[in-house]
């Protein structure tokens, strides 16, 4: 593993902590009025008005088979600029709660285990252990390409390795 450190913004979703490279993050907003897009998958079921641009609102909970719970005052929208189908795109991500920007060093990270994971392994870039907790670095390229479609974990996963 390489010895580089990344600055990442950490946030919670249904009890799990995720981290995003701070370089992608444009802004963190309080919840805004959203406009549902009929016919769009729940993963990206709505759009919001962000400074005069209409940007998609992505719910990563769909990609990780998480329950959708009531909104609280801690909920935020993390606006990132990330490639989508090759084009840099502004995208809003729902977060239950946003934490500080923190340094993550590569020597504390591990690859996602192939066996026994309840999530799609290719949706996860790395896992980081910190203070007994696990922080998930999602692979946004994969997640976006798959439009958040998570496959059910079957015996096939264990057989693959």
């Amino acid at each position: 593993m390489t010895q580089d450190t990344i600055e990442a913004l950490t946030f919670d979703l249904q009890g799990e902590t995720f981290a995003l490279e701070a370089g992608y993050v444009r802004e963190v907003l309080d919840l805004l009025p959203e406009t549902p897009v009929p016919g769009a998958p729940a993963f990206v079921g709505a759009v919001i008005n962000f400074r005069g641009r209409v940007i998609p609102l992505v719910d990563l909970r769909m990609a990780f088979d998480m329950a959708v719970t009531e909104t609280t005052i801690d909920n935020r929208i993390v606006v990132i600029e990330h490639p989508l189908d090759g084009e840099p795109t502004l995208i809003g991500l729902r977060a239950d709660k946003v934490h500080e920007v923190t340094s993550i060093t590569a020597d504390t990270t591990e690859e996602a285990p192939r066996v026994g994971m309840r999530w799609r392994a290719d949706f996860i870039r790395r896992l980081v252990r910190r203070n007994g907790d696990v922080i998930v670095l999602p692979d946004l390229d994969q997640i976006f390409a798959a439009r958040g479609q998570s496959a059910p974990v079957t015996a096939l996963h264990t057989a693959q390795r």
Binding site: P33, V44, N49, L90
Partner: protein, 653 residues
Amino acid sequence: MSGLDPIETFRQEAQELLEQVEQGLLDLARRPGDRALIDTIFRGLHTLKGSGAMFGFDALAAFTHHCETAFDRVRKGEVPASPSLVSAVLAAQDHMRALAEGTPVDAGAGEALLADLQAAIDGGDAAPAAAAPTAPGLNTFKIRFSLPADALINGARPLPLLDELRDLGEARVRVITDDVPPLDQLVPAECRLAWEVLLTTKHDRDAIDDVFIFVIDEMTLEVEDLTAAAIVEEPEVVEAVVVQEDVPVAANTPAETGRAAKSGDTVRVPAERLDEMMDRVGELVIAQSRLKQLAASSTDVALRAVAEEIERLASEMRDTMMVVRMVPIAQLFGRFRRLIHDLERDTGKQIELSTEGETTELDKTVIERLADPLIHLIRNSADHGLEGAEQRAAAGKPAVGKIMLAARQSGAEVVITITDDGRGVDRARVRAKAEENGLIQPGQVLSDNELLQLIFAPGFSTAAAITNLSGRGVGMDVVKKTIEGLRGSIEITSTPGEGSVVSLRIPLTLAIIDGLLVRVGTGRYVIPLATVEECVELTPAQDLRSTGRNLITLRDELVPFLRLREQFKTGTQPDLHQKIVVVATGQDRVGLVVDQILGDHQTVIKPLSSFHADVGAFSGATIMGDGGVALILDIPALVSLGQRHDAQLRAAG
């Protein structure tokens, strides 16, 4: 309240505050961690101290100060609200009451109380430092300063500062405009000026710092003491006229880059400038739309008048900009007739060019840049696409080959297609060429689309038969690059033996849509006005009658309709008076059933991300006056859907 004597008001206020603090303390004794209580107590003590000092109750102020400091530390979490602390302050209440009323107090008692307080918190406090003034004599300073860019927004004003300097003594002021950007890049609310002041004064350096006391932390300030040096002449210190306060410093700048325009002359303006201006115009349209909404719900006549005026100006501005930039593609298509004529002569083939959508408008510069690629694509069709007369006859095609150029606006894009009815793309030959030129591995698996895209790959067209028509150095890869340079995309579809279609998609830099705003359920949607034929009512009776058979008779014609409520799965109940908006593309029509028609709406089209671009029913979005988002309906898609449903129903009989 404020007509009274402030001191009397204060006395009353003090009593109330002390009451409040006392109650708070008593509650706090029972709930020591209660933040709200701590805040209230602190605030009360703070106000008591401040107001006391204001109105001459120095003793009270001084005494309360200690209590306030103690509670500040509690508030900051440095010290807990311990029982001894609470009781110490409580005990002090009577003393403070007496001080506020002006009844004589025992100084010793006061001391004792404070000692208890001190014991309870165990802290010290700092005494405020005092600054010292200094000495006279006549000094000369060279002062150079600039303010931060956001100074004006935060209320700072350069002129009063200069005036204050002038008040200090004899001053000569020179403005420095080095950092001012050219007029077209200028942000009026930003301060980019700097000043140099030569000041002769009997005050010292501190007085100068004092002038800038409010901005000293954020500004740049250089003060050079020139007292020793001779201060006689200072040529070229120009007393610049800095502009009147209200108008942001922009107006005085050395504006143009030299190429001023008189009416009638033309001006060359970099495209980026126009792009920015277009963006501003787009934003202006949105903001003006909000203003219109606000004014409509206001009873302020003056406001409404101004809002109308601004609407007129914004509209004119938009039209002017559009005229400046947007140009119908007809002028481009017009050039191609001559081209076809030449091609016919050169190839010996008979070619008919037809065009569609000539009124579709595009950016002027975009049109310029499309000319060459389109010429090449047409040549390509004529050259490689269309077969010779005999082959066409053999294939049962009419002798005259057809090339059709079509343009249409789709959401925030213009789609231009070049269709020919020739032989289509020979996949095998493309494959062979690609392998030959090392673009793909032999046996590499490719989808049909990927294979066809190879035609645009660099290195593909360096191939064999370069006829003197297409071989002008404008290969297909250059075409693709040019289109992508316009942030567009290019695609080929083709049916062997029947023909090919090259599609170009070019985004519009400023697409303003005239639309009909409608409500379906709780969502708002925009229907491009150009597609709307008419609106009719759908009575509840009709609604009931037509379930399962969504057709309505319109002037003896059966028109299928779509219930958008169902289409969008709103889950809401239909309005009592639903409306059908009949829309059409070409010859096909469909009725869209909506809950309410909200009115005309004109605003800038915002593109949807690729997450939503293929959802099907929507071609873009717009931002409403209230900041909300309305999705723009993709009428051709909905019309096809309607037609399909209709066909299914007819088939089902």
